[in-house]
Amino acid sequence: MKDCVRYAPMLGAREGELTEEEQHALDLHLQGCAGCRATAAELAALDGLVGESLMARANARDFAPFVDEVMARVGAPGLAPARGRRGFLGWFRTHPRAALASLVPFVAAVALVVYVRLERGGESGPMASLEIATEGEVTMVLQTSDGPVVLLDDGEHS
C-alpha cells in the first residue's frame, strides 16, 4: 500500500509524460498490484468523459450572437455598433450626407420663426390670421398687426 501511494498519481499519465525511470517503476508495480490495476481501469474508464460532456453542452448552445457581441464590445468597424456609437450621432458618422439632408426642413423652419419674430419687433398676440367672408362674393381679409387688409378677388379689379 505504501508503494501504491507513490504510484497512484502516475496512473493517468499519457505516453511520454513520465520519465523512463518512472514508467519502468510503474509498470513493475502494476504487474504485482491488482489494486492499482483496478484503479487504473477505473480512471481509464473516466478518461475523456469530462471533455466530451462539456463540448456536447457547448455544441448544443446557440452561438449565433456570441461573435457579434464580442465584435461590438471591441468596437470593430463595420460590425454591430458599440453602445457609444448608437443613435443619431452614430448614424451621422456613417451617413453624413443623408443626415445633412434630413436637417434641411428643420433648419428652414427655425429660420422662418426667427425671421417672423424679427419682423414682429417683440409685439405679443397673433401677428396674422386669415379670414374668409362670403357676402355675395368671396372676400379674403388678412388680419395683421397693422390692421385688417382686404384682399380683393380678380372680379373686383375688372
Binding site: 498519481p9 509524460e17 468523459l49 469530462v50 471533455g51 466530451e52 457547448a58 471591441v74
Partner: protein, 203 residues
C-alpha cells in the same frame, strides 16, 4: 491549424476585423466549454468566454507569437474563469494535494470500468452519462474542476498544466488523481444503479 491561426492573428493585428472574427468563431465553443467546466454557471461562462476574447483583442498588439495563439487565449480564459469562481466563492475549505492511503480505498471495485467499458466510440452509455458527468463535475472543488477541464478539454500535458497553474509537476499528478477519484465517487452511484438495472433485465 496553427499556421492559419498566426496568419489570422497577423491580419487582426493590422486592424482586419474579419480576421479577428474568424478567430472568435474558431475558438468560441471550446473557450466556452473550458469556462463552463470551471465556473459551472452557463451564463457566467458565456460572459467569461466573451471577456477572454475582448482581453485578447485588447492585447493583440503585444502578442509576439512566442506561444501559440490558442495557448494564449486559453490561458486568459482559464485565469478569468478561476477569478470568477473565486469572486463568487464565500469560503471553501481547500483540499490537500498529496495522496494518502485512504484515497486508494473505496474505489468501487471496478464497477465504473465494468459499466462504462473502454471503447469511447461505441459505448452508448458514455453519451447517456454526459449530463451525469456535468452534475458530478459541479460537485468538485474549483481546483479539481479546473485541472480536469484543462486536461480534458484543452488536452494539456503535465508540464503545460504545471506552467498554466503555477504548480509543480508532482502536484499536477496528485491533483489530477484526486480530481478523478472524486469524479469516480460522484458517478459511482449512477454506475451501480445502471449495473443493477442490467442484471435485473438480464434473462
Amino acid at each position: 491549424m496553427e499556421a492559419d491561426d498566426l496568419a489570422l492573428v497577423t491580419k487582426a493585428q493590422a486592424g482586419d476585423p474579419a480576421a479577428f472574427r474568424a478567430l472568435v468563431v474558431r475558438y468560441q465553443r471550446k473557450v466556452y466549454a473550458v469556462a463552463l467546466g470551471i465556473v459551472k454557471d452557463s451564463d457566467l461562462a458565456w460572459d467569461v468566454a466573451q471577456e477572454a476574447f475582448v482581453r485578447v483583442h485588447g492585447h493583440l498588439g503585444a502578442f509576439e507569437g512566442k506561444s501559440s495563439f490558442s495557448t494564449w487565449l486559453f490561458r486568459i480564459a482559464t485565469h478569468l474563469s478561476i477569478d470568477a469562481v473565486r469572486r463568487e466563492r464565500v469560503s471553501q475549505k481547500e483540499d490537500v494535494d498529496e495522496v494518502r492511503e485512504s484515497d486508494l480505498t473505496g474505489g468501487g471495485e471496478g464497477i465504473l470500468a465494468t459499466t462504462l467499458g473502454d471503447d469511447p466510440a461505441e459505448n452508448l452509455l458514455r453519451r447517456e452519462m454526459a449530463e451525469k458527468i456535468q452534475d458530478a463535475l459541479q460537485t468538485l472543488p474549483e481546483k479539481h474542476r479546473t485541472i480536469l477541464v484543462l486536461r480534458e478539454v484543452e488536452g494539456l500535458s503535465y508540464e503545460e498544466l504545471a506552467e498554466r497553474l503555477g504548480i509543480h509537476k508532482g502536484t499536477v499528478m496528485s491533483r489530477l488523481f484526486h480530481a478523478r477519484k472524486k469524479m469516480q465517487a460522484a458517478l459511482r452511484g449512477y454506475a451501480e444503479r445502471s449495473a443493477r438495472d442490467d442484471e435485473e433485465s438480464a434473462p
